[in-house]
């Protein structure tokens, strides 16, 4: 598996190929904890201002501007404040956080400490997906080292800032990556999402102001403090600052974690050159899901010769989204009805059951997909799938419902042939009854 930066100096991936990069010794030798030192000599507002200037947007999937999120925390509130690192990483196609946690755990700690200082938090939790147990073990060692070296605990680096960070484990539930469900889970409850507002920044963990940030968001923070918000932003574009990690999987020669500057051009070159091209050279590119399973699937015509820019604006323009950066490449051997069925099974399994549209809707979607896959599809089934999606999208309690609908809507619209083939198996003629026009967002 490849781990490398293209089109920029490795920043997030700076330590990936250094031996023992997970140790404090190597971290310090490579400039670690200098940003923390610098931050402790800045005011809280100055730090938030730098993060705002950097145009850093949350790397967990929603892309919310990090500096703005931080500024929502009522720092004057008498309640304790919390910083929570979201290491639940369960969006299909996404595995970048895993390598940051495995090989650069101190960068996560440093990012959390700077955030904690800026927000007035004294406690941080890292919520790992349960399957990442080996990463919890690595993190525990890193935390111990940091504690021993006084980067963690009381009066950090001689300042009056004190902070503790703890690991916490999930136990197999994709929904616990959603920030409010994560907090329910961290409190020891079933992982059901909570109503927003109040947003976690105001009422989060234990009812206290809480910022939840993705691993990659937090590891960007020391870089921003070190080089300054403007300099970090200028690595990317005006609106999409800095660099971004892409987890590449599927039918390419060199899958892996790639760091690209925001605004990298273009997606075709990325697939065909940077990732080594198609795994089987005689098989053509058919589809790409560029931002994790929850974003719109793209067909080859939307990519080849289109100069798609790899950033938030570029991908929306091209008809999809950055999401979590889980970049899944599929060649012509993949049947998009089947791939969409696979993802729908995922959402059905992971639906937390809290609200009816998502719980019942995903169940029905899978039933219809099963019927289609068994060769008993009916011409009207494409429309039926879309109708159910319409009853889930925008009508569910949390974004998981939307995430279940989007892959289906985009797949039927962009790969009608792959559905026709199944739905008209036993019917004469080739006219699809369903209206397969879907409004793109």
């Amino acid at each position: 598996m490849e781990i490398r930066a293209i089109g920029c100096e490795p920043l997030q991936l700076k330590r990936m190929h250094i031996k023992d990069s997970h140790t404090l010794k190597v971290y310090l030798e490579t400039g670690g904890y200098q940003a923390l030192n610098k931050a402790l000599n800045m005011t809280q507002d100055q730090i938030i201002e730098e993060v705002k200037k950097s145009a850093l947007r949350g790397r967990g999937g929603a892309g919310f501007p990090t500096g703005i999120k931080w500024s929502f925390v009522p720092r004057s509130s008498p309640k304790p404040k919390y910083i929570v690192c979201n290491a639940d990483e369960s969006e299909p196609g996404t595995f970048k956080d895993r390598y940051l946690l495995e090989r650069d755990p101190h960068a996560v700690i440093e990012g959390m400490l700077i955030a904690a200082y800026a927000l007035g938090a004294q406690t941080g939790y890292i919520y790992f997906r349960g399957e990442y147990k080996y990463l919890i073990d690595i993190m525990e060692k890193a935390l111990e080292e940091a504690r021993a070296a006084k980067f963690l605990g009381k009066n950090i680096l001689g300042s009056d800032f004190s902070c503790e960070i703890y690991t916490h484990t999930g136990a197999g539930a994709y929904i616990c990556g959603e920030e409010t469900a994560l907090l329910s889970s961290l409190e020891g409850y079933r992982g059901h999402p909570r109503m927003k507002p109040p947003f976690p920044a105001v009422e989060g963990l234990y009812g206290c102001p809480t910022v939840v940030n993705n691993v990659e968001t937090l590891t960007a923070v020391p870089q921003i403090i070190e080089m300054g918000g403007d300099a970090w932003r200028s690595l990317g574009t005006e609106k999409s600052g800095g660099t971004k990690l892409w987890s590449v999987s599927g039918h390419v020669k060199r899958p892996g974690v790639y760091e690209l500057p925001m605004g990298y051009r273009d997606m075709e070159k990325f697939i065909m050159e940077d990732c080594g091209g198609m795994l089987r050279p005689d098989k053509k590119l058919k589809a790409v899901i560029p931002g994790g399973s929850s974003v719109y699937i793209m067909n080859a015509d939307q990519i080849i010769g289109k100069g798609v820019t790899m950033d938030y604006e570029g991908l929306v323009e091209a008809g999809s989204a950055v999401g979590s950066g889980g970049f899944i490449v599929m060649d012509e051997t993949v049947d998009i009805m089947e791939s969409t069925k696979n993802l729908t099974e995922f959402y059905k399994h992971e639906s937390c059951g809290w609200c009816t549209p998502c719980r019942e809707g995903t169940d029905w979607l899978v039933k219809i997909f099963n019927r289609i896959a068994e060769g008993r599809g009916r011409p009207e089934d494409a429309q039926l799938l879309l109708d159910i999606c319409d009853n889930i999208e925008g009508k569910s309690f949390c974004p998981l419902g939307d995430a279940a609908a989007w892959p289906i809507q985009s797949a039927i619209k962009r790969f009608p042939e792959d559905f026709k083939k199944w739905l008209f198996k036993n019917v004469n003629g080739d006219k699809i009854v369903a209206n397969v026009e879907v409004e793109a967002v």
């Binding site: 598996m1 369960s90 196609g93 020891g188 599927g250 899958p255 399994h349």
Partner: protein, 176 residues
């Protein structure tokens, strides 16, 4: 929730007066988790403690639930309620080695079906089943966060990546 993960309660005792016992070392380990959370928020330690119960007792059973409820000042229902939400907890005994094959998209298109077939044939079981000697349980699970090295499985908590039938043979044959 999952149909292919052994989480069903068929023939399981859900309520008993018996309370599980653990060694002093294990109790210490449990206490170390409590230190992470505010004293009035002990419930936060529930999932970490359930993992310990599962490790020590092989699965989560009613006496184990009773212990955790007492330990955290919760009701037995509180503990069941949380435990049954999470797919990594199981409520009946499983094999010594829990093979969990990722069935999600990237693994699926990179050869998961071949791997699953191979393992089923080799062990003579289907997903959700345990070998008669109690050595292996096979489950199909969702994305393991390892899509770049697909196809992938976990045995217990260990990752096995870039699987081929030959590699699977080596791995399974090496397990005592």
């Amino acid at each position: 929730m999952a149909t292919t993960v052994p989480t069903d309660f068929t023939n399981q005792v859900l309520y008993t007066d018996e309370v599980a016992e653990f060694s002093p070392e294990v109790i210490e380990e449990m206490k170390s988790h409590l230190k992470k959370y505010p004293p009035e928020r002990k419930r936060s330690a529930l999932i970490p403690l359930l993992f310990i119960v599962q490790r020590e007792r092989g699965y989560i059973d009613a006496p184990g639930i009773n212990f955790v409820a007492k330990f955290l000042d919760l009701t037995v229902t509180d503990v069941w309620e949380t435990a049954t939400f999470y797919s990594m907890f199981h409520f009946r005994p499983i094999g010594k080695y829990h093979i969990q094959i990722c069935k999600t998209l990237s693994c699926k298109i990179m050869g998961e079906p071949e791997i699953t077939n191979h393992i089923c044939k080799k062990l003579g079981i289907k997903p959700g089943e345990t070998t008669p000697d109690g050595k292996f349980t096979l489950s199909m699970v969702e994305c393991l966060g390892s899509c770049g090295t697909a196809p992938v499985m976990q045995i217990g908590f260990d990752y096995y990546e870039n699987l081929t039938p030959e590699k699977v043979d080596q791995i399974l044959d090496s397990l005592e």
